[in-house]
């Protein structure tokens, strides 16, 4: 890998070990709604990659389809990106990783992209312990298609159309743990202080690193029962049957200490209860993680932070026993046995 330094230098800006500035990790300007949690996550990824001093071009960004899946365009502008098809990013990432085990793979998906159409591929990429970071930007709805409930929406929560959801939400972190994921974490888009280190850990993890990030959709997660906010406007929209009005909002951010609980109010007035790192939690035990997630859920709280980690797992390449050199770099000589071998083989078919 060549670590050539960036061409332009901003003497004033802080640099990382590789001499890159934060700017070198940024992407195009976001086209998401002002205040969308997804943008906060993009910023955290930029920060994490900067702090890890990754050569930007040695990272590959992959995603499916959705507002969340658009975000790879908005970070790491010097990295190749692949915005594939809805729900199928895991397979594309698997192929990419097989071709070149040396790059760093960052996958971004949404709760619809992963828990609905993508559930099958998600299950199997976990099972293969593919060496990548897989971030779900979880807003409990389908943002890009205007707010339908997703499979992670809480029971009773209501989309903009005002209809409560009646189905058991899928807890992707628990499912990942159940399926044998080797790194599982949960966080909140606004909690930069927690998110950045988690992302750094996930990128550094060898194997499949999953982060479920609660990332409010400021536009469609509007609980009509909400007292806060702007019924007036909503009624106006309801009456006109158009959902094209998105009041400008500030991004929600929060900070709190290890072991603390925290209430975070979303734009629509609904509240998420977060809890950071329970002392009981043994991050080397799947079962303790699964148990505590449920304990907190019972208290209507969401346990955040690193939930489980297995440092000694084998990633897909190790399981398959593929060459240490990236497969894509193998020379024709190593790949093509040539006519002599063919002569022998032809004999065997006579």
């Amino acid at each position: 890998m060549s670590y050539i330094r960036p061409v332009f230098r901003h003497p004033d800006l802080p640099r990382n070990a590789l001499g890159f500035t934060r700017k070198d990790y940024e992407g195009a300007i976001s086209t998401l709604c002002a205040g969308c949690g997804h943008d906060s996550i993009s910023a955290a990824i930029v920060q994490a990659c900067f702090e890890l001093a990754l050569p930007p071009h040695k990272v590959a960004k992959l995603s499916g389809i959705g507002c969340s899946s658009k975000t790879p365009t908005y970070f790491l502008g010097n990295s190749h990106g692949f915005n594939s098809v809805h729900g199928r990013m895991p397979s594309v990432a698997t192929g990419a990783n097989l071709a070149n085990r040396e790059l760093i793979y960052i996958g971004v998906s949404g709760d619809g992209d992963t828990a609905s159409i993508g559930m099958g591929q998600f299950t199997h990429v976990v099972r293969r312990n593919l060496n990548m970071m897989y971030v779900v930007e979880n807003n409990g709805c389908y943002g890009l298609t205007k707010g339908q409930d997703s499979a992670t929406a809480d029971i009773g929560s209501a989309s903009k159309k005002g209809e409560p959801n009646h189905f058991e939400p899928i807890d992707l972190a628990s499912v990942a743990l159940q399926l044998g994921a080797t790194f599982v974490a949960r966080s909140f888009s606004g909690d930069r202080a927690q998110l950045v280190p988690l992302i750094k850990a996930a990128i550094s993890h060898r194997g499949f690193a999953f982060i479920d990030v609660i990332s409010p959709c400021v536009t469609f997660n509007n609980n009509p029962k909400s007292t806060k906010g702007y019924e007036h406007v909503r009624e106006h929209l309801a009456a006109t049957g158009t959902v094209d009005f998105v009041p400008f909002k500030e991004e929600i951010s929060t900070e709190y200490e290890q072991g603390e609980s925290k209430e975070v109010a979303l734009h629509d007035g609904s509240v998420v209860h977060l809890h950071k790192a329970d002392p009981e939690l043994d991050i080397t035990s799947r079962r303790s993680a699964l148990r505590l997630i449920k304990d907190y859920k019972a208290k209507d709280q969401i346990l955040t932070g690193l939930l489980y980690m297995d440092e000694n797992s084998q990633d897909l390449h190790e399981i398959l026993g593929t060459s240490k050199a990236p497969l894509r770099d193998l020379a024709a000589a190593e790949l093509c046995p040539g006519q002599k071998v063919l002569d022998k083989l032809n004999e065997s078919w006579r």
């Binding site: 050539i4 050569p55 389809i65 594309v92 192929g95 097989l98 593929t322």
Partner: protein, 618 residues
């Protein structure tokens, strides 16, 4: 009573029960014929089941080298009580029926015009072998021994086959040879050998080999430099990846480290398999998948992405019969439309049509060159008949000076030297093919964002209609470029400036050429054109224009290839008379011959009857 007399030219069919170990014995029989220097074409007709149902193995011996299905049966080896009545009915008058006489035959099945040859296989086995499993297994070997006597197979050839097969497992050789001898001796003692149909050594196969197309394709992927195979099991494509796997273990494992210079992933389904292929190809590896009909349907969304985002991908479709699950263990050429125009929106895909194992090998390797140089999916359309049956073929060859055509890829140096901005979708060379870069090539240049949404020439997302249109037109230009790159059709002229032409492709080749030969013999001169790739190049248009009557041989109901010809070459469907076979068994020369004669005999070269039936068939 009449008895069929033939030397080196007959059809023998084995009727077995699925799961009784007959396949290996039957293979030995076919291979023995082959080693006697005689062209042979064995065809498996098996059920979609693992054990207990009827399965057949039809072997045609043809000194003249006709390898297509002939139809008719000169000798039936009836090992299956379930199907025996029907099997006996199928024998041509004057033919032979071989059976296990340990139990007497049901007299009602007897035919006065068929020669019955009984050998007490079960009894012989029980006397010889103790283990009941061996008893079942060696029954098959014994009848091969008996056939050796009845048909004049050189016993040494069989002995040789056994010792080749069990090299390294010598302890297995003796019982097998013993079983062969049991049958051989019993037959020679109880029957006048040989029968009217028999074999004589010839030198009619030259340096050819006997191999199934799927194994050849799997090997082609190795020679083509594939490092990633992602697949999901489905009959009849499974043996493509099995073949790749088998020979990779021999040829692609680093002797020092024991590491694999390849990766095979059994995906969770076909959507994932093609997704992995696209991801790997995007990242610079040569990757492929193999599937059959249902898989094609499931892959179509991803194929559209690869077409539009211009990502190489190699797909081998081993076609089986029917829509939906259809007849999974029968053959057809009916995925042509599904592959050519796979996916929604304006899409079209490059197709290859191999006719022999050698072409399966060559075209698979070539598919990677095409996919990478055209930056688009390439689908090789083979079928169960070619893919799963041992087929006589010229030996596989590889030009050691040949280099992989990796297509237009900027490397680090080129990017470093580049002053202007890199444009992933810029048509620099005016051939419709832009330049790509692999991820991780250069720290500050050449990165771009791949997407299925519309974008400008710099891969930046846009909803601008002109940019979209321009890009779609470039893709058409690339399509024209492809016409020059895909393998050209194979033209065989009858010489006498014939007015009749026959277009065929894939596994219709043998039967078509045999039919043409026989018509030639009767003074009907016919030119043939064998399609080998899509899009078609000019030769095809020319061929159709040059002939008054053009037949099109296809193994599907809807004349799917005609749709492509009509569409691409802007010719009238009425200029093409389809000869269609779609019952799941390979097309025969006899059928093609008759279809052609019906039209050619009547002075009206496009009789209404045909026309109508064509119309219905479209």
């Amino acid at each position: 009573m009449k008895r069929i007399e033939a030397v080196n030219d007959f059809v023998i069919k084995f009727a077995n029960v699925n799961g009784t170990g007959s396949a290996s014995a039957n293979n030995m029989f076919a291979k023995a014929v082959f080693r006697m220097g005689l062209p042979v074409s064995p065809k498996n007709i098996f059920p979609s089941n693992i054990q207990g149902l009827p399965t057949w193995y039809e072997v045609r011996v043809s000194e003249k080298g006709y390898l297509g299905r002939r139809g008719g049966v000169d000798m039936m080896v009836g090992m299956n009580p379930q199907s025996m009545a029907k099997d006996i009915q199928e024998i041509d008058s004057g033919g032979y029926f071989f059976y296990d006489s340990s139990k007497p035959l049901d007299l009602r099945m007897m035919r006065s015009d068929v020669h019955f040859i009984g050998v007490p296989l079960k009894d012989l086995c029980q006397r010889e072998f103790s283990d009941p499993r061996q008893q079942q297994l060696f029954r098959n070997v014994i009848y091969v021994g008996a056939l050796a006597a009845l048909l004049d197979i050189e016993f040494e050839v069989l002995r040789g086959l056994v010792s080749d097969q069990f090299r390294g497992k010598e302890k297995l050789i003796t019982p097998n040879v013993r079983a062969l001898e049991l049958g051989y001796h019993y037959a020679s003692e109880h029957y006048v050998c040989p029968l009217g149909i028999r074999l004589e050594r010839r030198d009619a196969v030259g340096d050819q080999i006997l191999i199934d197309g799927n194994t050849a394709a799997g090997l082609g992927a190795i020679y083509g430099g594939a490092t990633v195979a992602a697949w999901y099991p489905i009959t009849p494509s499974t043996s493509v990846v099995d073949g790749f796997d088998k020979y990779c273990k021999r040829l692609r494992i680093d002797p020092g480290s024991g590491n694999k210079n390849y990766a095979i992933v059994q995906a969770e389904d076909e959507l994932a398999a093609i997704g992995m292929v696209i991801g790997a190809s995007w990242n610079g590896a040569r990757a492929f998948t193999a599937t059959s009909g249902p898989g094609i349907s499931l892959m179509s969304e991803f194929l559209g992405l690869a077409y539009f985002a211009e990502i190489p991908a190699v797909l081998i479709d081993v076609q089986r019969a029917g829509p939906s699950t259809g007849m999974p263990t029968r053959t057809q050429q009916s995925d042509i439309l599904a592959c050519a125009y796979a996916s929604h929106g304006d899409t079209k895909h490059v197709l290859l049509f191999p006719s022999t194992p050698r072409e399966c090998f060559e075209m698979t390797a070539q598919a990677f060159d095409l996919a990478e140089s055209l930056q688009t999916p390439v689908i090789m359309l083979t079928d169960l008949d070619l893919g799963m049956n041992d087929t006589m073929s010229p030996p596989l060859v590889w030009d050691d000076t040949r280099e992989y055509q990796r297509g237009k890829v900027f490397n680090e140096e080129q990017l470093e030297a580049m002053s202007e901005r890199f444009g992933r979708y810029l048509d620099i060379d005016d051939d419709g093919i832009p330049y790509r870069t692999y991820p991780g090539t250069h720290p500050s240049k050449g990165a771009f964002f791949t997407r299925g949404t519309s974008r400008d020439e710099y891969a930046v997302y846009t909803e601008d209609g002109d940019a979209y249109e321009k890009n779609m037109q470039r893709l058409l230009k690339k399509w024209d470029t492809a016409k020059q790159r895909v393998p050209a059709p194979e033209l065989i002229k009858a010489g006498k400036g014939s007015k009749i032409g026959v277009i065929h492709f894939g596994t219709s080749r043998c039967a078509t050429l045999e039919a043409i030969d026989s018509l030639q013999a009767e003074g009907v001169a016919i030119d043939t054109l064998r399609l080998r790739g899509f899009p078609f190049n000019k030769t095809v248009d020319a061929f159709i224009e040059e002939h008054e009557t053009v037949f099109l041989v296809e193994q599907n109901r809807d004349a799917q290839m005609r749709t492509l010809l009509v569409n691409e070459c802007l010719i009238s469907p009425r200029q093409l008379i389809p000869i269609l076979n779609y019952n799941g068994t390979p097309i025969t020369a006899k059928y093609i011959r008759e279809e052609i004669l019906q039209v050619v005999r009547g002075d009206n070269v496009r009789p209404l009857r045909k026309q109508r039936s064509v119309k219905e068939s479209v």
